[in-house]
Symmetry: C2
Subunit: 502 residues, 2 copies
């Protein structure tokens, strides 16, 4: 019961197939936008819930700022507006009116409003009101919101005109403190990806030319997809005093002198779900790590004769309540009893395509043996008959093992596919002459990441553009050795990650 | 330390004062929009969390649909577009471009997009794809989202151009089932208001002329504010086959014939927080019921000498961890240790204005006595020294008592102020000749609700408009008696609730 399209046949088509067969999202009637269906949205809610805990532990508070930003705000920070001007949805009218029997936009606004592509400018405006003295700092805010960027080539989860995200915005009394915050939140993102999404990442900083518009430094985490392409999974920006100056966030410092605040911003989005799919899904469909699965255990009754129904359902209810005394990962367990009026085999494949971690089937014979049939998504095609008590007492370990295995599998794929033995521009060119394709587990693919030297010259930007590859980041762990820049052949010490990307 | 403006002096100014002094929200730079600050947003998150549980228990799933709705969708349902056309934000361009050195909207869209004022049309479009057979029904969806309605007289929480809400949308195989759903969700709203927000409501149905645009029936819950005005706290609409016909949600029924589905929609918004303020706040500031308070217990260290700090903080941490073994209302207790570098008296007033249910002050002398100073927000001005163990063991009861007392106080205000002894248009007119003003607790105010007869005549709409009052609802519990319509004097049997409203 594999998907219509396999990874090896057509990787991009396979991706669309997973999204649709796992019932996670679909294209909306509004061009370039998506409908996030319950299973996809449930994963997002799990990510929200786990990240909210991380934010709370790092003393951030959630708040909400307006969707619509006055046009004039974008003019305040020159680099910022330049970065976003080409993809902004502009609101110009406030009603519809009938003209010659046809409805038309009316009530033209004096000043157009921009649907937030990101909220630095509007949030800085509030911070400017909130902050007067060093005693008011730091301000540590997070917002869960929708944003709109007019993407021209939309793809579900990866790149849609509207997407959901969290954006953190903070203001500090010193540059040091703000830079520490920027890195601290990058670490929260690393933890989110690796521990919750089981998606390994590389931490680093973006090259100067690829910074967030208006930032001093942009830090990022980069993940490797199953086709060896990179996915930027999260970014954290140190904004220096740029936005503080344009919005007027100033405070009286301890020396009793006025000073502009130092701000940061950082975000991850529903794009993470795209990354999740291309990290864990296979030819059977999606595969969701237990920590973020909306349901971790599915209980499917197998009832052939009507007279067995009562008995089976009673057994399942008891099993469900026994499981509920367990708290995998220190949280309430999430169980779904799927009692819909459908064939159990169809239910099994439905939950397999959705990627629920554990699917259990329970019929009259299992009850006689005080057992159940257990199928783990990670071992699709295998099944085990397990004694009920044994299953219940092992549930926390089972889920923890699945989580761990998923991470390790992805981690070894990434590690196997970072080439650091390419040392000349010629070899480099030959390597990237190949196109990206699906990398089988445990193997080395034709193309993925190259870790190598970069001279930092301006001309390298042009070469990258021609080759259609990118410097994904300058990783934190630098070797400090000297070698040839893989683009120019010049001597260079900086290690960077080169890759094609989403 | 009362608020600058008291209720008796200027009720609307007092409201603004509470919102601002409790640090719940502020006006945004974007005209008519608000910034929801952490304390206000925290209350909203609590409402979300409790409602999500109710939705789960009634088998609804969360999903997310696009912010932007194609213009053409609104033309499909004539009543619907007419109802919303006057307050729609219209997106007409997709970028900004420099023209003569000035940035201007560019990239005009072929078809304008509307920022959702509500999502019936776009969600119905998805339902039409999802539903083929009676086996696909019911579809039970909820969405948490922001919506925009171009309000001309915005007021924080009560009426803002952008607000946050949940909107439920369901499709069913029969009219009966859909009507049952509509009422079931109204009951969820009643429970939310009464049990969580401690805000009593009257359930009923809207008069024909005041229905949601496109609905067959609109059910609602109405609450009484402290000035006797009504606040519509939630609505639940039975939409019949109207939206199903315009969007094409049809299915093959059990008789193997095509049939249009029966749909419902229902919503509550951040407006609830406005209702919460006008139900519970007083001249000292906000007062948040424990079930939805972001923090239920505030622990304030009282440290006069630096050398006491260590001892006091150790005691507080121990107290906090002892409290955490308790689960008021079956949930994790929410405690805030306020260790900011500020005077404890300032902290006390800050939390009082925010309306935290219980504020505890702990200094060296309290520790000697193994005690603490307890101040309940509901009994502002009073304080008690309580033994620590006694406080810890009574915390669940204390919070439950506060919740109950808040509800009962509001309930008796409402019951005392529904006049049902007004029986003629003359008395009725004389009653509403008064203007609304603050009603002191336990008393009967000059103007509030009148429960009386309504003939249902068309002309009554005009009379209501002139008197600037409204029929808030036709309550479920009808007496069935006959009397005079309070507007026309004609014989009538229908009981309705008359009031001024927000």
């Amino acid at each position: 019961m594999s998907l219509k399209t396999k990874r090896i046949e057509n990787y991009p088509a396979w991706y669309q197939c997973v999204v649709s067969e796992a019932d996670m999202a679909e294209n909306a009637a509004s061009p370039g936008c998506m409908v996030i269906k319950p299973w996809g949205y449930g994963i997002w809610e799990r990510i929200q819930s786990l990240m909210n805990e991380e934010f709370r532990e790092t003393d951030h508070e959630n708040a909400y700022f307006p969707l619509l930003i006055p046009f004039s705000f974008f003019k305040k920070e020159a680099e910022h507006v330049e970065g976003f001007a080409k993809e902004m949805a502009v609101v110009t009218h406030s009603k519809l009116q009938e003209v010659d029997g046809k409805l038309e936009p009316a009530g033209e606004l004096e000043e157009p409003l921009i649907i937030r592509p990101t909220s630095e400018t509007i949030i800085a405006d509030s911070f400017a009101k909130w902050v007067k003295s060093y005693r008011d700092l730091p301000v540590l805010i997070n917002q869960w919101a929708n944003v709109v960027r007019w993407e021209m080539r939309p793809r579900l989860f990866l790149r849609t005109r509207e997407f959901l995200w969290q954006e953190g915005h903070t203001a500090h009394a010193s540059a040091d403190e703000a830079e520490t915050e920027t890195k601290r939140m990058l670490e929260v993102y690393r933890k989110t990806c690796e521990e919750f999404l089981a998606m390994p990442v590389i931490e680093g900083v973006k090259p100067e030319y690829d910074k967030f518009p208006g930032a001093v430094d942009t830090y990022c985490i980069e993940a490797m997809m199953q086709d060896g392409k990179a996915l930027q999974a999260g970014t954290s920006h140190y904004l220096g005093q740029n936005f503080a100056k344009s919005a007027g966030i100033s405070f009286i410092n301890k020396e009793n002198k006025p000073e502009f605040a130092y701000t940061t911003s950082w975000g991850v989005s529903t794009r993470l779900i795209g990354g999740l799919i291309m990290t864990h899904a296979d030819d059977e469909g999606m595969n969701v790590p237990p920590r973020i699965a909306p349901y971790q255990v599915i209980l499917v009754p197998v009832i052939k004769k009507k007279e067995d129904e009562e008995k089976v359902m009673t057994y399942i209810r008891a099993l469900s309540s026994e499981l509920k005394s367990h708290t995998p990962f220190g949280e309430k367990i999430r169980i779904k009893v799927d009692a819909r009026d459908k064939q159990s085999v169809d239910k099994f494949w439905e939950w397999t395509r959705k990627g629920a971690p554990i699917i259990c089937e329970i019929g009259p014979r299992d009850i006689e043996n005080n057992a159940l049939m257990v199928k783990e998504r990670l071992k699709v095609g295998q099944k085990e008959i397990v004694l009920k008590d044994e299953f219940v007492s092992s549930i926390e370990k089972r889920l923890a093992d699945i989580q761990k295995e998923m991470f390790e599998k992805a981690k070894s794929r990434m590690e196997n596919n970072i080439r650091n033995d390419i040392t000349t521009p010629e070899e480099f060119k030959a390597y990237f002459a190949n196109s990206n394709e699906w990398i089988e587990d445990g193997t080395q693919g034709k193309v993925a990441f190259v870790r190598g030297k970069w001279s930092g010259d301006e001309q390298t930007e042009e070469i990258l553009k021609e080759m259609k590859i990118a410097i994904r980041c300058i990783p934190f762990n630098q070797t400090g050795t000297t070698g040839k820049c893989l683009l120019t052949g010049k001597e260079a010490t900086l290690d960077v990650i080169y890759a094609r990307s989403y």
